[in-house]
Protein backbone atom coordinates (compact mmCIF):
# COMPACT_ATOMS: atom_id res chain seq x y z
CA UNK A 1 0.00 0.00 0.00
CA UNK A 2 1.40 3.38 -0.97
CA UNK A 3 0.87 5.87 1.81
CA UNK A 4 0.98 9.57 1.22
CA UNK A 5 3.34 11.96 2.94
CA UNK A 6 0.39 13.44 4.83
CA UNK A 7 -0.85 10.09 6.14
CA UNK A 8 2.61 9.08 7.26
CA UNK A 9 3.03 12.30 9.22
CA UNK A 10 -0.44 12.08 10.72
CA UNK A 11 0.49 8.61 11.97
CA UNK A 12 3.67 10.10 13.40
CA UNK A 13 1.60 12.72 15.24
CA UNK A 14 -0.65 10.01 16.65
CA UNK A 15 2.32 7.83 17.53
CA UNK A 16 4.08 10.62 19.44
CA UNK A 17 0.89 11.74 21.18
CA UNK A 18 -0.05 8.20 22.26
CA UNK A 19 2.61 7.63 24.95
CA UNK A 20 1.80 10.99 26.50
CA UNK A 21 -1.91 10.22 26.76
CA UNK A 22 -1.46 6.69 28.02
CA UNK A 23 1.63 7.37 30.14
CA UNK A 24 0.04 10.30 31.93
CA UNK A 25 -2.65 8.10 33.45
CA UNK A 26 -0.53 5.04 34.13
CA UNK A 27 0.22 5.94 37.73
CA UNK A 28 -3.01 6.91 39.54
CA UNK A 29 -1.20 8.63 42.41
CA UNK A 30 0.38 11.07 39.93
CA UNK A 31 -3.06 12.00 38.64
CA UNK A 32 -4.14 12.78 42.19
CA UNK A 33 -1.09 14.93 42.95
CA UNK A 34 -1.20 16.68 39.56
CA UNK A 35 -4.73 17.83 40.31
CA UNK A 36 -4.61 18.50 44.04
CA UNK A 37 -1.16 20.09 44.50
CA UNK A 38 -1.82 23.05 42.15
CA UNK A 39 -5.04 23.56 44.08
CA UNK A 40 -3.08 24.02 47.32
CA UNK A 41 -1.03 26.84 45.78
CA UNK A 42 -4.20 28.37 44.41
CA UNK A 43 -5.86 28.05 47.81
CA UNK A 44 -3.05 30.04 49.45
CA UNK A 45 -3.53 32.90 46.99
CA UNK A 46 -7.31 32.68 47.25
CA UNK A 47 -7.17 32.99 51.03
CA UNK A 48 -4.94 36.06 50.76
CA UNK A 49 -7.60 37.69 48.59
CA UNK A 50 -10.31 36.60 51.00
CA UNK A 51 -8.36 38.00 53.94
CA UNK A 52 -8.05 41.34 52.16
CA UNK A 53 -11.79 41.40 51.46
CA UNK A 54 -11.10 41.51 47.74
CA UNK A 55 -14.06 41.44 45.35
CA UNK A 56 -15.38 37.89 44.92
CA UNK A 57 -14.25 37.60 41.32
CA UNK A 58 -10.59 37.73 42.39
CA UNK A 59 -10.87 34.26 43.87
CA UNK A 60 -12.20 33.17 40.49
CA UNK A 61 -9.26 34.93 38.79
CA UNK A 62 -6.87 32.95 40.98
CA UNK A 63 -8.61 29.62 40.35
CA UNK A 64 -8.49 30.22 36.60
CA UNK A 65 -4.86 31.35 36.72
CA UNK A 66 -3.92 28.36 38.87
CA UNK A 67 -5.53 25.97 36.40
CA UNK A 68 -3.69 27.65 33.53
CA UNK A 69 -0.32 27.16 35.25
CA UNK A 70 -0.65 23.49 34.27
CA UNK A 71 -0.42 24.50 30.61
CA UNK A 72 2.58 26.74 31.13
CA UNK A 73 4.43 24.08 33.12
CA UNK A 74 3.59 21.57 30.41
CA UNK A 75 5.07 23.92 27.81
CA UNK A 76 8.29 24.38 29.79
CA UNK A 77 8.94 20.85 30.96
CA UNK A 78 7.16 18.63 28.43
CA UNK A 79 7.52 20.66 25.25
CA UNK A 80 10.49 23.02 25.46
CA UNK A 81 12.77 20.64 27.35
CA UNK A 82 11.57 17.51 25.60
CA UNK A 83 13.94 17.31 22.62
CA UNK A 84 16.87 17.93 24.97
CA UNK A 85 15.71 15.03 27.15
CA UNK A 86 15.11 12.88 24.08
CA UNK A 87 18.74 13.54 23.19
CA UNK A 88 19.89 12.54 26.67
CA UNK A 89 17.90 9.29 26.56
CA UNK A 90 18.96 8.45 23.01
CA UNK A 91 15.61 8.85 21.25
CA UNK A 92 16.51 11.98 19.30
CA UNK A 93 18.73 10.17 16.81
CA UNK A 94 15.80 7.80 16.10
CA UNK A 95 13.50 10.76 15.50
CA UNK A 96 16.02 12.35 13.16
CA UNK A 97 16.41 9.13 11.16
CA UNK A 98 12.68 8.44 10.82
CA UNK A 99 11.20 9.23 7.37
CA UNK A 100 8.87 11.89 8.72
CA UNK A 101 8.78 15.62 9.21
CA UNK A 102 10.29 16.76 12.48
CA UNK A 103 7.29 19.05 12.82
CA UNK A 104 4.99 16.04 13.18
CA UNK A 105 7.04 14.89 16.20
CA UNK A 106 6.60 18.30 17.78
CA UNK A 107 2.91 18.35 16.86
CA UNK A 108 2.44 14.91 18.45
CA UNK A 109 4.10 16.12 21.64
CA UNK A 110 1.78 19.14 21.63
CA UNK A 111 -1.41 17.13 21.02
CA UNK A 112 -0.61 14.56 23.72
CA UNK A 113 0.47 17.23 26.19
CA UNK A 114 -2.55 19.37 25.48
CA UNK A 115 -4.89 16.43 26.04
CA UNK A 116 -3.66 15.33 29.43
CA UNK A 117 -3.00 18.87 30.65
CA UNK A 118 -6.52 19.96 29.74
CA UNK A 119 -7.93 17.08 31.80
CA UNK A 120 -5.83 18.05 34.80
CA UNK A 121 -6.46 21.79 34.48
CA UNK A 122 -10.20 21.22 34.13
CA UNK A 123 -10.20 18.96 37.20
CA UNK A 124 -8.27 21.52 39.23
CA UNK A 125 -10.68 24.22 38.15
CA UNK A 126 -13.82 22.22 38.89
CA UNK A 127 -12.58 21.28 42.37
CA UNK A 128 -11.59 24.92 42.96
CA UNK A 129 -15.02 26.13 41.92
CA UNK A 130 -16.70 23.67 44.28
CA UNK A 131 -14.37 24.27 47.23
CA UNK A 132 -14.43 28.08 47.03
CA UNK A 133 -18.02 28.33 45.84
CA UNK A 134 -17.31 30.70 42.98
CA UNK A 135 -19.71 31.37 40.13
CA UNK A 136 -18.67 31.85 36.51
CA UNK A 137 -20.70 33.33 33.68
CA UNK A 138 -21.10 31.27 30.53
CA UNK A 139 -22.94 33.92 28.56
CA UNK A 140 -20.76 33.55 25.46
CA UNK A 141 -19.62 29.92 25.30
CA UNK A 142 -18.61 30.04 21.64
CA UNK A 143 -16.24 32.93 22.21
CA UNK A 144 -14.94 31.13 25.30
CA UNK A 145 -14.10 28.05 23.24
CA UNK A 146 -12.56 30.18 20.49
CA UNK A 147 -10.34 32.04 22.98
CA UNK A 148 -9.22 28.78 24.56
CA UNK A 149 -8.41 27.19 21.21
CA UNK A 150 -6.40 30.11 19.79
CA UNK A 151 -4.57 30.50 23.11
CA UNK A 152 -3.60 26.84 23.15
CA UNK A 153 -2.50 26.79 19.49
CA UNK A 154 -0.35 29.87 20.03
CA UNK A 155 0.99 28.55 23.33
CA UNK A 156 1.91 25.11 22.00
CA UNK A 157 3.35 26.75 18.88
CA UNK A 158 5.61 28.66 21.24
CA UNK A 159 6.47 25.39 22.98
CA UNK A 160 7.39 23.80 19.64
CA UNK A 161 9.68 26.74 18.92
CA UNK A 162 11.31 26.49 22.35
CA UNK A 163 11.90 22.75 21.87
CA UNK A 164 14.43 23.45 19.12
CA UNK A 165 15.97 26.43 20.86
CA UNK A 166 16.46 24.47 24.08
CA UNK A 167 18.40 21.90 22.13
CA UNK A 168 20.81 24.66 21.22
CA UNK A 169 20.92 25.93 24.82
CA UNK A 170 22.10 22.51 26.03
CA UNK A 171 22.70 22.32 29.76
CA UNK A 172 21.40 25.84 30.29
CA UNK A 173 17.91 24.61 29.31
CA UNK A 174 17.17 23.50 32.87
CA UNK A 175 17.86 26.97 34.26
CA UNK A 176 16.00 28.67 31.43
CA UNK A 177 12.90 26.65 32.29
CA UNK A 178 13.25 27.53 35.95
CA UNK A 179 13.82 31.14 35.03
CA UNK A 180 10.58 31.19 33.08
CA UNK A 181 8.33 29.86 35.83
CA UNK A 182 7.68 32.44 38.57
CA UNK A 183 8.74 35.44 36.43
CA UNK A 184 6.17 34.44 33.79
CA UNK A 185 3.51 33.88 36.45
CA UNK A 186 4.22 37.47 37.43
CA UNK A 187 4.46 38.99 33.95
CA UNK A 188 1.44 37.19 32.55
CA UNK A 189 -0.80 37.98 35.51
CA UNK A 190 -1.65 34.42 36.48
CA UNK A 191 -2.93 35.53 39.89
CA UNK A 192 -4.01 39.12 39.29
CA UNK A 193 -5.28 41.11 36.29
CA UNK A 194 -2.31 41.84 34.03
CA UNK A 195 -3.58 45.40 33.66
CA UNK A 196 -2.09 46.07 37.11
CA UNK A 197 1.40 45.93 35.60
CA UNK A 198 0.72 48.98 33.47
CA UNK A 199 0.01 49.14 29.75
CA UNK A 200 3.52 48.76 28.36
CA UNK A 201 4.56 45.98 30.71
CA UNK A 202 1.35 44.11 29.91
CA UNK A 203 1.88 44.74 26.19
CA UNK A 204 5.39 43.30 26.45
CA UNK A 205 4.10 40.26 28.34
CA UNK A 206 1.53 39.70 25.59
CA UNK A 207 4.17 37.96 23.52
CA UNK A 208 3.40 35.01 25.82
CA UNK A 209 0.01 33.84 24.54
CA UNK A 210 -1.29 32.89 27.96
CA UNK A 211 -1.23 36.57 29.01
CA UNK A 212 -3.91 37.60 26.54
CA UNK A 213 -5.68 34.25 26.78
CA UNK A 214 -6.08 34.57 30.54
CA UNK A 215 -7.24 38.18 30.30
CA UNK A 216 -9.84 37.26 27.68
CA UNK A 217 -11.07 34.23 29.64
CA UNK A 218 -11.45 36.34 32.77
CA UNK A 219 -13.49 38.91 30.85
CA UNK A 220 -15.73 36.17 29.47
CA UNK A 221 -16.18 34.43 32.82
CA UNK A 222 -16.80 37.76 34.57
CA UNK A 223 -18.48 40.06 32.02
CA UNK A 224 -19.87 42.33 34.75
CA UNK A 225 -16.42 43.51 35.81
CA UNK A 226 -16.40 45.45 32.54
CA UNK A 227 -13.37 47.55 31.71
CA UNK A 228 -12.20 47.77 35.28
CA UNK A 229 -9.77 44.86 35.05
CA UNK A 230 -9.50 44.22 31.30
CA UNK A 231 -6.25 44.89 29.46
CA UNK A 232 -7.69 44.88 25.93
CA UNK A 233 -11.16 44.04 24.51
CA UNK A 234 -11.69 40.31 23.91
CA UNK A 235 -11.99 40.67 20.12
CA UNK A 236 -8.64 42.48 19.93
CA UNK A 237 -7.02 39.83 22.11
CA UNK A 238 -8.38 37.04 19.92
CA UNK A 239 -7.03 38.79 16.82
CA UNK A 240 -3.56 39.16 18.39
CA UNK A 241 -3.63 35.53 19.52
CA UNK A 242 -4.47 34.45 15.96
CA UNK A 243 -1.41 36.34 14.73
CA UNK A 244 0.70 34.71 17.45
CA UNK A 245 -0.56 31.26 16.31
CA UNK A 246 0.78 31.81 12.81
CA UNK A 247 3.95 33.48 14.03
CA UNK A 248 4.96 30.81 16.55
CA UNK A 249 4.23 27.84 14.29
CA UNK A 250 6.22 29.53 11.52
CA UNK A 251 9.06 30.29 13.94
CA UNK A 252 9.02 26.73 15.25
CA UNK A 253 9.65 25.47 11.71
CA UNK A 254 12.47 27.98 11.24
CA UNK A 255 14.10 27.14 14.57
CA UNK A 256 13.81 23.42 13.84
CA UNK A 257 15.56 23.92 10.50
CA UNK A 258 18.22 26.05 12.18
CA UNK A 259 18.78 23.41 14.85
CA UNK A 260 19.16 20.70 12.20
CA UNK A 261 21.54 22.83 10.17
CA UNK A 262 23.61 23.61 13.25
CA UNK A 263 23.63 19.93 14.14
CA UNK A 264 24.93 18.99 10.71
CA UNK A 265 27.68 21.62 10.74
CA UNK A 266 28.92 20.91 14.28
CA UNK A 267 28.14 17.18 14.38
CA UNK A 268 26.83 17.48 17.95
CA UNK A 269 23.08 17.34 17.46
CA UNK A 270 22.56 13.95 19.08
CA UNK A 271 25.67 14.04 21.25
CA UNK A 272 24.72 13.66 24.90
CA UNK A 273 25.94 15.57 28.00
CA UNK A 274 26.54 18.84 26.15
Amino acid sequence: VTETWLLRNLRAVRGRAYPRIVGANREPSWVFFDIVLPLLTVAAYAYIYKFMDAPKEFVGFVILGGAMTAFWLNILWSMASQLYWEKETGNLSLFMMAPISRMSILAGMAVGGLFFTTLRAASTMIIGIVVFGITLSLSDPLMLILVFIVTMIALYGMGMMFASLYLVFGREAYHVSNLMTEPIYLASGFYFPVKALGFWAAAGASIIPITLGLDALRQLFYPLTGEQYQFLPVTVEVAILAVLCVMFIGLSKLSLDYMEKLGKSTGRLTLRWQ
Partner: protein
Protein backbone atom coordinates in the same frame (compact mmCIF):
# COMPACT_ATOMS: atom_id res chain seq x y z
CA UNK B 1 38.92 17.53 61.90
CA UNK B 2 41.06 18.50 58.93
CA UNK B 3 39.61 15.60 56.99
CA UNK B 4 36.09 16.77 57.82
CA UNK B 5 36.85 20.32 56.73
CA UNK B 6 38.23 19.05 53.44
CA UNK B 7 35.16 16.88 52.95
CA UNK B 8 32.91 19.82 53.71
CA UNK B 9 34.77 22.09 51.28
CA UNK B 10 34.71 19.59 48.44
CA UNK B 11 31.09 18.59 49.06
CA UNK B 12 30.11 22.26 49.02
CA UNK B 13 32.00 22.81 45.77
CA UNK B 14 30.38 19.75 44.24
CA UNK B 15 26.99 20.99 45.45
CA UNK B 16 27.58 24.36 43.81
CA UNK B 17 28.47 22.72 40.50
CA UNK B 18 25.41 20.48 40.69
CA UNK B 19 23.12 23.37 41.58
CA UNK B 20 24.48 25.32 38.63
CA UNK B 21 24.22 22.17 36.48
CA UNK B 22 27.77 22.88 35.24
CA UNK B 23 26.46 25.82 33.24
CA UNK B 24 27.12 29.51 32.79
CA UNK B 25 27.44 30.96 36.34
CA UNK B 26 25.85 34.21 35.18
CA UNK B 27 22.68 32.46 34.05
CA UNK B 28 22.55 30.50 37.28
CA UNK B 29 23.11 33.64 39.36
CA UNK B 30 20.37 35.42 37.42
CA UNK B 31 18.00 32.53 37.96
CA UNK B 32 18.84 32.39 41.67
CA UNK B 33 17.98 36.06 42.09
CA UNK B 34 15.09 36.56 39.67
CA UNK B 35 13.06 33.51 40.69
CA UNK B 36 12.53 34.44 44.36
CA UNK B 37 12.00 38.10 43.54
CA UNK B 38 9.34 37.27 40.96
CA UNK B 39 7.60 34.95 43.42
CA UNK B 40 7.46 37.76 45.96
CA UNK B 41 6.35 40.37 43.45
CA UNK B 42 3.33 38.24 42.56
CA UNK B 43 2.11 38.69 46.13
CA UNK B 44 3.02 42.35 46.11
CA UNK B 45 0.99 43.00 42.97
CA UNK B 46 -1.94 40.98 44.32
CA UNK B 47 -1.81 43.19 47.37
CA UNK B 48 -1.44 46.43 45.42
CA UNK B 49 -4.36 45.62 43.11
CA UNK B 50 -6.69 45.37 46.10
CA UNK B 51 -5.32 48.08 48.37
CA UNK B 52 -4.30 50.66 45.74
CA UNK B 53 -0.75 50.93 47.02
CA UNK B 54 -0.97 51.09 50.82
CA UNK B 55 2.07 49.11 51.98
CA UNK B 56 2.57 50.63 55.42
CA UNK B 57 0.26 48.22 57.25
CA UNK B 58 1.22 45.22 59.33
CA UNK B 59 -0.52 42.70 57.10
CA UNK B 60 1.68 43.62 54.15
CA UNK B 61 4.81 43.24 56.25
CA UNK B 62 3.73 39.88 57.63
CA UNK B 63 2.85 38.61 54.19
CA UNK B 64 6.07 39.89 52.63
CA UNK B 65 8.39 38.56 55.32
CA UNK B 66 6.53 35.27 55.57
CA UNK B 67 6.83 34.77 51.85
CA UNK B 68 10.53 35.64 51.89
CA UNK B 69 11.32 33.21 54.70
CA UNK B 70 9.17 30.50 53.15
CA UNK B 71 11.97 30.07 50.63
CA UNK B 72 13.83 28.14 53.34
CA UNK B 73 10.88 25.77 53.75
CA UNK B 74 10.75 25.15 50.00
CA UNK B 75 14.52 24.64 49.88
CA UNK B 76 14.46 22.11 52.71
CA UNK B 77 11.53 20.21 51.17
CA UNK B 78 12.68 20.22 47.56
CA UNK B 79 16.42 20.74 47.93
CA UNK B 80 18.21 19.44 50.98
CA UNK B 81 16.02 16.40 51.45
CA UNK B 82 16.73 15.34 47.87
CA UNK B 83 20.51 15.18 48.26
CA UNK B 84 20.71 11.45 48.98
CA UNK B 85 17.96 10.60 46.53
CA UNK B 86 19.66 12.57 43.75
CA UNK B 87 23.02 10.94 44.41
CA UNK B 88 21.46 7.49 44.36
CA UNK B 89 18.92 7.75 41.53
CA UNK B 90 20.12 10.51 39.25
CA UNK B 91 23.91 10.64 39.48
CA UNK B 92 24.30 7.06 40.77
CA UNK B 93 27.30 8.03 42.88
CA UNK B 94 25.94 7.38 46.36
CA UNK B 95 27.70 4.02 46.70
CA UNK B 96 31.09 5.49 45.87
CA UNK B 97 30.56 8.44 48.20
CA UNK B 98 29.41 6.17 51.01
CA UNK B 99 32.39 3.81 50.88
CA UNK B 100 34.88 6.68 50.55
CA UNK B 101 37.00 7.31 53.70
CA UNK B 102 35.07 10.43 54.64
CA UNK B 103 32.41 11.29 57.18
CA UNK B 104 29.15 10.84 55.27
CA UNK B 105 27.29 13.34 57.45
CA UNK B 106 29.92 15.99 56.75
CA UNK B 107 29.46 15.35 53.05
CA UNK B 108 25.68 15.81 53.33
CA UNK B 109 26.23 18.92 55.43
CA UNK B 110 28.50 20.41 52.75
CA UNK B 111 26.00 19.70 50.00
CA UNK B 112 23.16 21.19 52.05
CA UNK B 113 25.17 24.26 53.05
CA UNK B 114 25.40 25.45 49.45
CA UNK B 115 21.67 25.13 48.93
CA UNK B 116 20.97 27.09 52.09
CA UNK B 117 23.54 29.72 51.11
CA UNK B 118 21.92 30.24 47.71
CA UNK B 119 18.50 30.48 49.33
CA UNK B 120 19.83 32.95 51.89
CA UNK B 121 20.97 35.25 49.08
CA UNK B 122 17.44 35.14 47.65
CA UNK B 123 15.88 35.85 51.04
CA UNK B 124 18.20 38.76 51.78
CA UNK B 125 17.68 40.30 48.35
CA UNK B 126 13.93 40.02 48.77
CA UNK B 127 14.05 41.75 52.14
CA UNK B 128 16.36 44.49 50.85
CA UNK B 129 14.06 45.05 47.88
CA UNK B 130 11.11 45.25 50.26
CA UNK B 131 12.79 47.93 52.33
CA UNK B 132 13.90 49.92 49.31
CA UNK B 133 10.62 50.10 47.44
CA UNK B 134 7.92 49.78 50.06
CA UNK B 135 7.20 50.89 53.58
CA UNK B 136 8.67 47.92 55.37
CA UNK B 137 10.68 48.78 58.47
CA UNK B 138 12.85 46.55 60.61
CA UNK B 139 12.74 46.49 64.37
CA UNK B 140 15.91 44.98 65.75
CA UNK B 141 14.79 44.93 69.36
CA UNK B 142 14.33 41.16 69.55
CA UNK B 143 17.93 40.76 68.41
CA UNK B 144 19.60 43.48 70.47
CA UNK B 145 17.50 43.27 73.60
CA UNK B 146 17.03 47.05 73.52
CA UNK B 147 13.90 49.04 73.09
CA UNK B 148 12.25 49.34 69.69
CA UNK B 149 14.28 52.32 68.61
CA UNK B 150 16.36 50.76 65.85
CA UNK B 151 14.53 51.17 62.60
CA UNK B 152 16.48 50.79 59.42
CA UNK B 153 14.83 52.10 56.33
CA UNK B 154 17.20 51.31 53.54
CA UNK B 155 19.94 48.97 54.65
CA UNK B 156 18.09 46.32 56.63
CA UNK B 157 14.37 46.41 56.50
CA UNK B 158 11.58 44.77 58.19
CA UNK B 159 8.75 44.73 60.03
CA UNK B 160 6.44 46.58 62.26
Amino acid sequence: MRNDLRTFKNAAWLGWQMEANWTDPFLFATYSVVKPLAGTLILVFMYLVITSGETGVAFFSFMYVGNALYMYVAEVLFGVTWVIHDDREHYMTLKQVYIAPINFHTYIFGRAAVKIAITTVGVLLTLVLGSSYSELTLTLAPLTGRSCSHRWRSASPAYA
